[in-house]
Symmetry: D2
Amino acid sequence: MKANRDEALRRLRRIEGQVRGVQRMVEEDRYCIDILTQLAAIRAALDKVGVQILDAHARGCLTAAIESGQSEVAIDELIESLERFIK
Amino acid sequence: MKANRDEALRRLRRIEGQVRGVQRMVEEDRYCIDILTQLAAIRAALDKVGVQILDAHARGCLTAAIESGQSEVAIDELIESLERFIK
Amino acid sequence: MKANRDEALRRLRRIEGQVRGVQRMVEEDRYCIDILTQLAAIRAALDKVGVQILDAHARGCLTAAIESGQSEVAIDELIESLERFIK
Amino acid sequence: MKANRDEALRRLRRIEGQVRGVQRMVEEDRYCIDILTQLAAIRAALDKVGVQILDAHARGCLTAAIESGQSEVAIDELIESLERFIK
């Protein structure tokens, strides 16, 4: 769990750096297509963090909820959360 | 479960009709932007079926797998499947 | 242009077949994860048609609109259309 | 153009703050579902910047390229860039 958290933090710090990089590109009037390429890369990196958090959630909270017979609410909120992501 | 399956089928038949509609639009040389709008609508409809199937899976197979102590493989394949969707 | 249209139609017919395939999978109570995999494939195929139509639009109508000094409206509707797609 | 650039920068700084916010959420072991909700919000914000940059590109470089009869390469790279985004 701790390894998972550290990995997510490492990725998020990298994403923060990428976002700052894009700010510089905009300030320096860099070519739009290069900026778009960079934005697409950040989005892909965000999705990877999302999947990682989802994985941790499924193995942790979701499994615990189902094992303790409280799957209903847990699955409701998982699906709602995925709906926001899958689009 | 049966209601869920019937609902998924109803949606999929509607999507099939929408895909045929876009074929006609292409054959009749309709305006590209209108075709794109229609394609985006089909994609949104597909995502809704996806979420519905996911919901059924979480409440059915996934819950059963976790309750019988076999969460590992079940969560692995769920996450893999989501990775293909979330992008 | 005609080649482009034929190619789009060919892809759309294939997508129609894939959607019918998923209907059968649902009717036969196939494993949810396999259905989700198939839905993700259809979505990717739809996106490819979308990009192809977009390409045709950019080379055709959009170029014509810009060349005739009417870029404003043409770009407005292109961006609006992309907004529906990019999400 | 300058207004557009300032607006993009403003949004990117806000996104940077959101990414730092998620880092804190992870450090504080906040509930996964809340983290996912926040990640989905950041993705939506990134997409908005992407559309804005695309808009600027279409009105600027792309229009200039088409007007000067060099639409081929300009449209090729636009479509390639969109392909990375539409998925």
